[in-house]
Amino acid sequence: MSAVILAADDIQVAQNIGFGIIAAIMVIGALKVVTSKNVVHAALSLVLVLSGAAAQYILLGAEFVAVSQILVYVGAVMVLFLFGVMLTRAKLGKETDLDQPKAWLGVPVALLMLGVLAWVLIDGFQDERLPADATSKAAVEISDSVLGPALVPFLALTFVLVAAVIGGIVLARKD
């Protein structure tokens, strides 16, 4: 039923509302990451941003990317991050020396980048939209290309991981 309505309606209201809500949450989370005085709070706000990105991928019909985003960023990277905080700092809680004195220099740079990128993206894609009947076969296509045209980079990634593990152990071990 709803599919019929969405197919008939060119604007896809539900998706747009979903996008707006998630985007607002992401922006608030991102601001929290840089303004929070507590490292753990900043890390947890980052979880919000990364999960929001995953939700946006689902709205775009890219469920494989969304699941990888959750697994890799929210799962692995954030756990590593929190472990890093736990293992290296005795003090949890508010800190006063987190801000660089010249941090405000980042504000105009960020605004400039926001302006430029927003302009080029709006200019580049104009009013293109996703096909309303897009059915997702992303996972199938990714597996086909990983074992097809992208075979060499796929195998090369295994060596990236081997090198990272070996080097990480050497640099981290005590001797």
Partner: protein, 506 residues
């Protein structure tokens, strides 16, 4: 459920692999695991075996590069043109493998003396070389990015190999953070490019960019981001700040590796992208390259003049040399000049690799005795180590571009390319380069004066004992520097214009 999915997606066909074309990569990959597993069973005093084995792996891969050049088709294309083994790729693969071999020769004694983790050191070195070899063949954004990571990630850790030294740690962290930042910028540019064109294949990108006759803002930003990301890798000004600190803190053989092989890999990616993916984007990349080249030459030189540490001086000198290598790319899009620009870049990379590796080999040999990196410690070198004194003079003269050494021919090619272009951009960069050639001679000659005119500062004139492997590295690099200058046609033939550009799909 799965059956229906499989039925829906039945169009997968197994890719055809050309094992001969992939042989260098396969030998390196096998060698990585051979070194890694053999290292487990070695007693501490047998650890030299890993070094010897790594050297043989590089040479074995080099042999297959040779057979590829001689036997069969010149151009072997796989995965629909995503991975290509042509003459351009082969000469650069040979460059990376020889550079890797020389770094192994330079390392064997140095790393053994430092009691570092030798097996792991060579595994990471081989992995990085594997990434570079892959970079030479990549004709797809995905392969280029993965190759970039594969060559960079081991290099980040190798830069921090002096881990008991705070400078070593600083080098590793600085290189890692800035390198990852640059990779992210490159990746963002690539994803924007994929977003507007819908393809990652470079030849398709070449026809898709400006297909409708005008540049969209996304394309401009994407090309700019990609160029900026690789500018970090090649330490072009203003993205060079990491270079001197990293070069100083890393073990000296790794410094040589970073300043030659890693830098060359960045240039290879930039050249491949410029000629295959951005042939219609010259209005965007040419001014960019012009600014990067002019700033790199000038600022690199001005800082190099003020250095008192030989490694930092060579670091800034390599920034400045990078500007010269970028110079031909400022006119790469001018009709009829692209070919000689490409040739100039490739020849410059080969000559620069031989010369700079040689200079670092002398630095290692001298530091074995003096335990110092100061330029003043080279005083009287000719008196007590005449061979090293002469070799260092040859390498520095080649870097300065004095005939008949290799560096002269490389600079000649670069100047010829920009002057042939007959444009304002070309002439202006040529003038800047000419001024910088003169400035650069000043700091190279400062070191020569120490070697020939001054006395040993401490009065200790015991001769320097050079280990055989380091001696071999010196002989190879010196031979290459002289031969490339006297008989430039050797590389000129490899950079044969029509073959190279034909292979690049122009």
């Amino acid at each position: 459920m799965i059956a229906s999915l499989l039925a829906a997606a039945g169009d997968w066909v197994a890719p055809t692999l050309d094992y001969h074309a992939l042989a260098p990569e396969i030998i390196l990959a096998a060698g990585i695991f051979a070194v890694l597993s053999i290292d487990l069973f070695l007693e501490p005093e047998q650890r030299w075996i890993t070094s010897a084995l790594s050297g043989f792996v590089m040479l074995g891969a080099l042999v297959t590069v040779g057979t590829l050049a001689v036997i069969g088709d010149d151009t072997r294309s796989m995965f629909g043109g995503r991975y290509v083994s042509d003459e351009y790729a082969l000469i650069l693969k040979a460059l990376f493998l020889v550079a890797g071999y020389i770094v192994v020769l330079m390392s064997s004694d140095e790393i053994e003396r430092g009691r570092y983790h030798q097996g792991e050191y060579y595994v990471l070195l081989l992995t990085s070389v594997l990434g570079m070899v892959m970079m030479a063949s990549s004709r797809d954004l995905l392969s280029i990015f993965v190759a970039l990571e594969l060559l960079s990630i081991p290099a980040y850790m190798l830069a921090a190999w002096n881990k008991r030294n705070s400078r070593g740690n600083e080098a590793g962290v600085k290189y890692y953070l800035l390198g990852v930042f640059a990779s992210a910028i490159t990746l963002y540019g690539m994803s924007l490019l994929y977003g507007v064109t819908g393809t990652t294949l470079l030849t398709d990108l070449g026809s898709a960019i400006t297909a409708n006759g005008r540049f969209s803002g996304v394309e401009v930003i994407a090309v700019a981001f990609i160029v900026v990301g690789f500018a970090f890798k090649i330490s072009a000004v203003p993205f060079h700040q990491w270079a001197p600190d990293v070069y100083e803190g890393a073990p000296t053989p790794i410094t040589a590796f970073l300043s030659v092989a890693s830098k060359a890999a960045g240039f290879v990616a930039l050249v491949t992208l410029t000629f295959v993916a951005f042939p219609n984007a010259e209005d965007v990349y040419q001014p960019f390259m012009w600014v990067l080249a002019a700033l790199s030459m000038t600022i690199g030189n001005l800082y190099a003049l003020r250095q008192t540490n030989i490694v930092r001086m060579l670091a800034y000198s390599s920034v400045s040399q990078g500007g010269f290598i970028l110079m031909p790319l400022t006119v790469a899009g001018v009709d009829g000049v692209g070919e000689s620009a490409l040739k100039a870049v490739v020849v410059y990379l080969v000559v620069y690799a031989a010369t700079n590796l040689g200079a670092f080999a002398v630095v290692i040999a001298v530091a074995r005795k003096t335990r110092s990196g100061e330029i003043s410690s080279y005083g009287g070198l000719f008196g007590y180590a005449p061979a090293l004194g002469v070799l260092m003079t040859i390498f520095l003269a080649s870097l300065a571009g004095i005939p008949p050494l290799g560096g002269w021919f490389a600079k000649f090619g670069a100047f010829k390319a920009v002057l042939d272009a007959d444009t304002g951009w070309g002439y202006s960069i040529a003038i800047i380069a000419a001024i910088n050639t003169v400035i650069s001679a000043a700091y190279y000659i400062t070191v020569m004066r120490e070697i020939w005119m001054k006395d040993e500062p401490t009065g200790d004139t015991t001769p320097i004992r050079t280990p055989p492997s380091l001696g071999a590295a010196l002989v190879i690099t010196c031979g290459a520097t002289i031969v490339l200058g006297v008989l430039p046609d050797i590389v000129g033939r490899f950079g044969d214009i029509t073959d190279l550009t034909g292979a690049l799909g122009r």
